[in-house]
Symmetry: C2
Subunit: 347 residues, 2 copies
Amino acid sequence: MNRRNKDDDRHLPTLADVAARAGVSTATVSRCLNSPAQVQQATRDRVMAAIADLGYSPNFGARALAARRTGTIGAIIPTMENAIFARALQAFQEELHLNGITLLVASSSYRPEIEEEQIRTLVARGADALLLIGHDRAPALYEFLESRGVPLLITWVFDPALSRPSIGFDNRRSMAALAGEVLGQGHREIGIISAEVEGNDRARARVEGVHDALRVQGLDPARAQLIETTYSFESGGAALARMMAHPTRPTAVICGNDVLAVGALQMARKLGLRVPQDISITGFDDIELATVVEPPLTTVHVPHREMGRAAARRLVAMLAGEGHGNSVCLETRLCLRDTLAPPARNS
Amino acid sequence: MNRRNKDDDRHLPTLADVAARAGVSTATVSRCLNSPAQVQQATRDRVMAAIADLGYSPNFGARALAARRTGTIGAIIPTMENAIFARALQAFQEELHLNGITLLVASSSYRPEIEEEQIRTLVARGADALLLIGHDRAPALYEFLESRGVPLLITWVFDPALSRPSIGFDNRRSMAALAGEVLGQGHREIGIISAEVEGNDRARARVEGVHDALRVQGLDPARAQLIETTYSFESGGAALARMMAHPTRPTAVICGNDVLAVGALQMARKLGLRVPQDISITGFDDIELATVVEPPLTTVHVPHREMGRAAARRLVAMLAGEGHGNSVCLETRLCLRDTLAPPARNS
């Protein structure tokens, strides 16, 4: 017999130990854990009693055991193409792993209909909880998740006006701080290269942040030239080229993220413009790319890893029945590097 | 009644149409598609006949219908942290999406025990097929997948000696071509910064490729200084610093991928070494980073997107019952940019 007592801490109880104690097959124990509805109540009670007696934990924290069904959490990110979401997600996964939870990730290409399909798939595949980026999506989807009783955490944003739990940061205030610095150095002709704001509350809030900073200086937000595009090096570069062909050239271009900013930086070089002497360019995120490029990028540091870890801890607590708690706003930080300087006198 | 005939191409038949024709509920039709084992044979036959009559396709190619259960494919990659796997995976997902299949991704942090857990989770969650990176893993895992009848495709490698289907490229030959170019420019003191080769057939093959090139020149492979480390900017930089502290400094450092190479490049700058005048540095992969850094990186271009798309098409065909076909070797290409030059005379 494989039966162990709790004091024998050199050997954690196994599935086989549970099966032996409950007098059922290991397959039945698995079914109790993974598809309890398929097991008769009496059998299930016997197996659960054996689990409790032995202190058996199927590879994850015992507290979460009662509440969880599959040990799987799903996350949907807008893209895998660049490192924006990668770092937070890696930390998110590492923290979940410490709690015995497996992360399954889907990437929606910033398309709501694909995200919806992925949400439904993850729920159908038994995800115990979901992590989603931003709040912008059809109300029916939130109702669907609620009707299925799937705990949900939003990240990358913090909006105190919404009751839905989130662990993120204030995109608007963070960008306003950066834009305030740009204006403080004397720039008045501002260009904004943003992701498409429709369906993207992070991008929208960042544009609003630039507008806030303009208003603080008594300037009309409409004077900032805005180009919305997709997040890629090429589109950042193309947007900069369009701006520089405009009759009133900006002296500073504020980009919605580091990928767009690096694309703009490369295009500036191609156009023979020196950064920051001829034009200032700023990013957002502070991914590794920001310090790899020459000159290093002035940007906003987002605590991606901390955000990923905190989100994982919160979801584990939610699965353990601790409720969703308050939304959390993490602090961002201005990184003043070498792509921002006062405008040239004659530009 | 919702019944349609096949000629009405303005309206694709729906689940409700199938249910009405078969005289069952829509829930039963769903069950036939998702968990056929739970439906009685006679009912299943009636539903399948209705599906065939109406030409109904639940959001994906009809050919795959019979063979597939959940419309989900799983992929496990070693890391999400950098862009190495991201680009191929994005293309993989886009192609799967065209076929109505949802991709779920897990990332194993290069740890076999995490990968194993993820493989088992994906199978338990009903993945119809799996995409895995490289061949190196415990035989028991392959047996597990075979016993579950889960089709499997390997990518990132091409090894004609193995019968398991793969769509990849020849890591060894590709790296040998690059190393041959390095030696051809006159370098004799070579450093290699590699990922840990244990459990990583791609990294191992690349190191062997450098050794092959040395042998072709009649040189002893042992004369190349090899440092194995993790894939990150920091570890690439740290490895370069160690090499440069060695009594016989290399004049060229061949890195296992672009991330290591960029880390080495940054460290070279910190150490006051000019690239390529004082030291040559090469990468592997040709991710976007390679052209963003200054000077642009000499590297090996891997057709990541093409590989991702081809892998998706092959898996769709496998799910449609077409067998796994032959392994495919995609061509890589040498990218000679600005980080490789002949060694300085006095170095």
